[in-house]
Symmetry: D4
Subunit: 172 residues, 8 copies
Amino acid sequence: MKKPIIGIIMGSDSDLPIMQEAAKVLDEFKIPYELTIVSAHRTPKRLYEYASSALQKGIKVIIAGAGGSAHLPGMVASITPLPVIGVPMKTKNLDGLDSLLSIVQMPPGVPVATVAINGAKNAAILAVSILGTQDSAMQKKISKYKNSLKKQVIKKAKKLGKFGYKKYLSKV
Amino acid sequence: MKKPIIGIIMGSDSDLPIMQEAAKVLDEFKIPYELTIVSAHRTPKRLYEYASSALQKGIKVIIAGAGGSAHLPGMVASITPLPVIGVPMKTKNLDGLDSLLSIVQMPPGVPVATVAINGAKNAAILAVSILGTQDSAMQKKISKYKNSLKKQVIKKAKKLGKFGYKKYLSKV
Amino acid sequence: MKKPIIGIIMGSDSDLPIMQEAAKVLDEFKIPYELTIVSAHRTPKRLYEYASSALQKGIKVIIAGAGGSAHLPGMVASITPLPVIGVPMKTKNLDGLDSLLSIVQMPPGVPVATVAINGAKNAAILAVSILGTQDSAMQKKISKYKNSLKKQVIKKAKKLGKFGYKKYLSKV
Amino acid sequence: MKKPIIGIIMGSDSDLPIMQEAAKVLDEFKIPYELTIVSAHRTPKRLYEYASSALQKGIKVIIAGAGGSAHLPGMVASITPLPVIGVPMKTKNLDGLDSLLSIVQMPPGVPVATVAINGAKNAAILAVSILGTQDSAMQKKISKYKNSLKKQVIKKAKKLGKFGYKKYLSKV
Amino acid sequence: MKKPIIGIIMGSDSDLPIMQEAAKVLDEFKIPYELTIVSAHRTPKRLYEYASSALQKGIKVIIAGAGGSAHLPGMVASITPLPVIGVPMKTKNLDGLDSLLSIVQMPPGVPVATVAINGAKNAAILAVSILGTQDSAMQKKISKYKNSLKKQVIKKAKKLGKFGYKKYLSKV
Amino acid sequence: MKKPIIGIIMGSDSDLPIMQEAAKVLDEFKIPYELTIVSAHRTPKRLYEYASSALQKGIKVIIAGAGGSAHLPGMVASITPLPVIGVPMKTKNLDGLDSLLSIVQMPPGVPVATVAINGAKNAAILAVSILGTQDSAMQKKISKYKNSLKKQVIKKAKKLGKFGYKKYLSKV
Amino acid sequence: MKKPIIGIIMGSDSDLPIMQEAAKVLDEFKIPYELTIVSAHRTPKRLYEYASSALQKGIKVIIAGAGGSAHLPGMVASITPLPVIGVPMKTKNLDGLDSLLSIVQMPPGVPVATVAINGAKNAAILAVSILGTQDSAMQKKISKYKNSLKKQVIKKAKKLGKFGYKKYLSKV
Amino acid sequence: MKKPIIGIIMGSDSDLPIMQEAAKVLDEFKIPYELTIVSAHRTPKRLYEYASSALQKGIKVIIAGAGGSAHLPGMVASITPLPVIGVPMKTKNLDGLDSLLSIVQMPPGVPVATVAINGAKNAAILAVSILGTQDSAMQKKISKYKNSLKKQVIKKAKKLGKFGYKKYLSKV
């Protein structure tokens, strides 16, 4: 694999079933990335090192997933000049509202680009569109991808029109 | 002014007192931008035209502020391959929780990079960091900016240490 | 089937198990309708076309279901002069509070008639009562329908009175 | 004034400063309406009488505003076959979230067409669009009204483009 | 059974699995009660009749359970001078927060004595304590009941002290 | 004044501007009451003594107002067999949602009759209706009071009908 | 076992499956503790006795778990000068938001050290760190424990790096 | 002043008007403390240095106030073995709910002792009670302080009893 240009990090391996969606998108777009576990609370030094070395390693965008008192994305953003995308993880007790507010309500000067709760897939698509600002091939991929979404909807709409809702549902 | 590379749009001119913070940051960073009003609900066609022409005009990042049923950022993101940053406006009745959820909870495939409620300043800083992925001068500006934030904190901490909290507060 | 006068649209076929409740009510009331998928975010152009042609096609009321950042009902309402009924879909993470606020908090000038979370059935009944403003036969159907609801309650109350709560529950 | 075809009711005269917005829209659209106070909790019989006689009096749509434990719109909807539009009033303690949930979460069979918190203006516009389903002149008025909203936005956008945000704000 | 002095009503037989807890408490306390279904929205007239005749029938306290846009307890309270206890039912979508706010936030003049979400048991105990204000035998029953709760806790505490938490949990 | 039969207590004298509304209602109804400050957290012994002696002193209903972590009503209810009415005080930070949930969500066995946030007036009316279960004179007062509420509404409705909303508002 | 220096109490044995996590941590740290059931609402006297005797018995920190209208931690804190740690239990209806607000929003003068919803494990770790302020051996144990957390993360990160996310997930 | 044993830190000098309440309590209790500004997001290195050196400097408890995406208390707790008390600052947009959830919902292993929104005073009292676990003089101060709270309540209750609520309120 080529040198990674996206860094995907998460606070715990329990976030991996969700965060793998980001990796899958990047695999699909053939964008080299690295993926690892960095816990703000259990490995604060590792967080510091990861965030302060990412730029030098060639990383261009960091995707960080965290849940509950979700400090990982914001702390990384406080250290690196790179754009940081935060993915609030759904939590057992408050459904991810805690994660969302912990990540999105950053103070002036240190933004985190927050996506939906459990929105790891969208984090990767956003990362690609950021890369697209310097790479028109990437941008075309995004356009193509959005076009494929459109086609899927239209295909389903046709199928629904053809079969009617009862048959359609019985087939799903 | 040079050709704009950032587009700042908002749903209403009542959002301008907040959204101007984005413009001020870009002024400070000397980044050419355009700023206008595009209402998802009152000018849906204008929204469509703005979003579908932005890339061709040379825009690289779009910042969109909206409140309540805040559809502007998500609809723009559905049309353009450019990264879209959403600013949820504080609202009179629900304090911006409605705006935040309307903007951040986008479905798979169409992300909006959401910042804090009323976080127009951070939207601009995020936009600059996105530009920084292709422009190391820009990236240095971000690092310098974050450094200046640090210096302000340290200066205030020193002043607080020198005067004690009572005098410090009486001076503010 | 006769020319449809109600349009039922939804953002995704994953909304169909809920949105079919609207179709069933219209089937029961023998009101011709069309039902299709229109995604605000994946098919914005289709949304524009659907909304701007509905009136000419003879549609009188549009029912639109959407979840999360639920932009479909509001965007349709921004384009058509027809009354638009919004159905907030229950979501996995925030239980539909995001959908509800995204749909109901529309700005002055562009209302969406919002019903309960997952309230597709009620959306159809509301549509019929709207048609009833121009068609007294329709209005009588609504009255009759509400009367049947009353009868069901009274029948159950009688059964409960006869059997007592323990037996009643063991029979259900 | 001609025989009223819209009924505007509210739970208390303290709701009138908000609910008058509905009346103003109908004045503007030259649609005859009646406006009165009907309290679900203090005048339950009056509620019953109002709701059960509205249809016979020629009313076609009822707009009901209420706050807190907001039972007026739902109770009216339980009695009349007419479409009922509910306006959740902002409340002192919970900002209208209580009103919104009390009004919108109606059980299957008895919908209330809910608009935004304090959205009396939109309630009236929705009522007009409902009348528009039987009256193409009305529908044209709605289209014209939405067009005027568009023009205002475009005018403001031009002004903003001409003056820049600083001058624009100093003029407002 | 003797003439009922407590009325237990609920909006739907789907509330019965919860509302039966109130009946069981009254069975245990040997207090005659009646239990039936009265839907505010599907049987508004029945609601009116129930509430306006309860006092004459000898009912002293009314317990009313309802969910979502929960209007039953408040509407009953608007009609009768009897104390009304409201039980907010847990709902599928908003966990009963909608029911709670619909019931508890009554306007000045018309209170509903609200208990916890799904708190049907407590509604009955509250009803008994209300009867106890005129009947010292009843009051003693309440004291005895609360004493039995205490004894259960102390018994469990002893068992926990004896076995330790691991054995205790394995036995449960 | 006669021997008090209602006890009004509150956690702090800062609650008095709201809690006096309960006293005013009882003054109006000529019901003897006592009113004092009992803090669950600052005077736990006083709470214990107050709650365990209230019955013997002749108190029949206790009204307890508290805010934030509002433990006063529930703790009093845990000690006395009397009915306890809880008034959640509006709080500076969470608008009384904390007070409401602290008071209403009592465990099985120990109910608190909860009224609206800042609903001290309703607490007193509820107390009177509870006394009314043993005193038909009291019950008539409640009916008369509710009737006076009705008359006020009807008077205002007439005035509104006569003057129209513009004049009505300019007079208020 | 040596004389207990930590008291773990909970409102009900239904809290034990969660609260045992606190006991397990103390077992691991070899810190003597006592564990029992004290219900604020069902055994208010026992609460009073427990809280007022804890200091004399040699208890240094009290951990109290409670759910819903969670009054146990705050009431204990109102009686003892010892630090009290509150554990908000997840609840069936409001997911523990009620417990959290009931415990954390204590008035000036009587703090409760609140941890996360269901955070019994963290309550124990916090208790150990409090003991550590007077016992450097204890403090070293905390440092060692936090170090072990770090090692686990790093071990998992290595494993993830070695196997890649797909294999890693299939092994878990 | 003697060597500080409590560290009070806050994310911004805008938190000082609230956080000074902690300092005032420690002044009153004659406990040496240090007070400074440490921003998690603007001075991450300073945070790291502060947290990792606090123990060696003789600090025994750290009080950390922060608002919005409030990461300061949790990040400090991730680095030091000392007990960390978190003070969620009220915020302009979400009233401090964001701060509260960001601080309290820490993952297993790294607790933060969270107090009420804006509860700086209680943070200091909690810190003193923690010191009290090793210093009986301190513990007596806490008992004395709580006793003084009791006396204030009783004094006010007497005054209220003497003057009645109307005079009492007019005097305040």
